[in-house]
């Protein structure tokens, strides 16, 4: 264990530019995936959560099922769509961070939709009654709902970030794990493990968890304040 920690410290501060480059790529990918899947998923989830309409139950079940979409299947679908001979091949996105983000958005949006739908669903009926009693406008009602759910929505965003940063199946297939370009922390760990260098693999893992901690600590504090 000591050796792992020493190796991790060495990786971070020993002038290993490659690791910093990998960290940068990882953060770039994860933050973009989190942002896009939150911006798409949370409003949609809240809409589904507070409205009643035909087919709503089915829609929720579909999103719940998609929460279990295997990452490598999401990767395969995106690979087939975006490879040069595929329908979106013209965009020339294969083996780029952008296509990794697309695969992750496909993977994570069902999670953000489902979780924010259940957050809204729990608060909405009571709030709706109150709002009607007070004669509030719909805009005000939605604002009130967002305020009530704020803490949970931060959790949703954090969940999206966690899923994104930890994911390996999709990003290795569409990203190709190319050094200095699409190698992220999880694919780097996989590569080191395949090479049999378990200490280095574990050291990269330690760095990955530190990174996750660095994002989660302030976000969690914010969430506590919002409650």
């Amino acid at each position: 264990m000591n050796e792992t920690i020493r190796e991790a410290a060495g990786l971070l501060f020993g002038g290993d530019n490659e690791l910093w480059q990998i960290i940068f790529t990882t953060l770039r990918m994860s933050l973009m995936s989190t942002a896009v899947s939150s911006i798409l998923g949370i409003p949609l989830g809240i809409l589904i959560g507070r409205r009643q309409f035909p087919g709503r139950g089915l829609l929720l079940r579909v999103f719940h099922t998609l929460m279990g979409l295997p990452p490598v299947l999401a990767g395969l679908i995106v690979f087939i769509l975006f490879r040069s001979i595929g329908p979106f091949g013209r965009l020339k996105l294969m083996f780029s961070v952008a296509v990794m983000v697309i695969a992750q958005v496909l993977l994570i949006t069902p999670v953000t939709v489902s979780l924010s739908a259940s957050a809204a669903e729990a608060k909405s009926p009571l709030l709706h009654e109150t709002a009607r009693g007070l004669g509030l406008s719909r805009a005000k009602e939605v604002r009130l709902l967002l305020r009530e759910c704020a803490g949970q929505l931060v959790s949703v965003v954090l969940m999206a970030f966690g899923r994104s940063i930890a994911e390996v199946g999709a990003v290795s297939l569409v990203g190709g794990n190319i050094q200095y370009k699409t190698r992220v922390m999880t694919t780097a760990i996989l590569l080191e493990a395949n090479r049999g260098d378990f200490t280095r693999a574990l050291a990269v893992g330690v760095v990955l968890m530190l990174l996750a901690l660095l994002v989660n600590v302030p976000a969690y504090t914010l969430q506590e304040k919002l409650r």
Binding site: E18, S38, R83, F95, V154, V157, I178
Partner: protein, 311 residues
């Protein structure tokens, strides 16, 4: 209301982060990050002003794990990049998926080692060149030192496989349609054995390094390229080379260019950096590369890991 505003702030922050990060997504600026880490490049730095800057500087090479994980490409490519100004992006996986990338239009050239699959690639109309075979090494059979199947003194790989099939020590197969896996399947065919349903036959479906680690854990037999085995030897205490250099175990590496107008693509619009691919092929077949290849591994392992085919 305050809570709502702070929530908005979080979103804005996350989004701003992403947006900033998005702006830097210009692949042409990235190679700079690699220069500091590869020594041959820095050696060539004084003459940096003379390095040509090709119009389309990125070459996409799809290759097998054995040439990348054994360290050969990280050792060779910086010399090529420093000389020509190209930047080679290596996607390394088994020969199966490497060829899959090329057939998807996402590679400019291939460096692989599976004659059958290479010939199929040409026949299906994807290749711009012939099979440019230029180097080889030997597959070896590794296993526990005790050698329960007694393969050490057998004449051919097929004989060894027959002996392995008669004991229950176990055989680990790549099972990933890679060059090594195809070689292995071919040897089973020659031996007249179908091992796939046998309990001692483990198909693990992964790369060479991972397969060796699993074989080491199980103290079983496997077929591997010698380069990967030697480069990982210190992590494989339970395995030794038991059989090498039989005639049916030669492992030939070839280069293949991708033809964007090839019949295999059925008219799909793909772009291939033909100029870059040709430059890399020309360099790989040059005396300069030959020299480097012949020297590779001698210092570290006491013997070369790859040999050049007679021209």
């Amino acid at each position: 209301m305050k809570k709502f505003i702070s929530l908005l702030l979080v979103f804005a922050l996350v989004f701003a982060f992403a947006a900033c990060a998005g702006k830097t997504e210009d692949p042409s600026t990235e190679p700079a990050a690699s220069d500091g880490t590869s020594e041959p490049v820095s050696e060539a730095e004084p003459s940096a002003s003379e390095v040509p800057s090709p119009e389309n500087p990125v070459i996409r090479l799809a290759t097998t794990t054995s040439v990348n994980d054994s360290g050969l490409l990280p050792y060779l490519l910086p010399a090529f990049e420093a000389k020509t100004g190209y930047k080679v992006e290596v996607a390394s996986a088994g020969t199966g998926i490497a060829i899959g990338y090329a057939k998807s239009g996402d590679a400019d050239l291939l460096l692989v080692h599976s004659k059958k699959q290479e010939e199929a690639f040409i026949e299906e109309g994807y290749a711009s060149t012939e099979r440019l075979s230029f180097m080889y090494n030997y597959f070896v059979i590794v296993g526990p030192e005790a050698d329960p199947a007694g393969i050490k003194d057998l004449a051919s790989a097929a004989d060894c496989f027959t002996a392995i099939s008669k004991v229950d020590t176990g055989f680990v197969s790549r099972g990933d349609n890679s060059g090594t896996h195809n070689k292995e399947t071919g040897i089973w065919e020659t031996a007249g054995i179908d091992p796939t349903a046998e309990s001692w036959y483990q198909s693990v479906g992964s790369g060479m390094g991972d397969t060796l680690i699993k074989t080491n854990e199980m103290s079983a037999y496997t077929l591997t390229d010698k380069a990967t085995f030697l480069s990982m030897k210190d992590k494989l205490p339970n395995l030794v080379i038991l059989k090498e250099e039989a005639d049916d175990m030669k492992n030939t590496y070839s280069l293949l260019g991708v033809d964007p107008k090839g019949a295999g693509f059925k008219g799909a619009e793909i772009t291939v950096n033909t100029e870059g691919a040709n430059a890399l092929i020309e360099w790989m077949l040059s005396d300069e590369a030959a020299d480097l290849i012949a020297k590779y591994g001698v210092e570290q392992y006491g013997e070369p890991l790859f040999f050049l085919l007679e021209k």
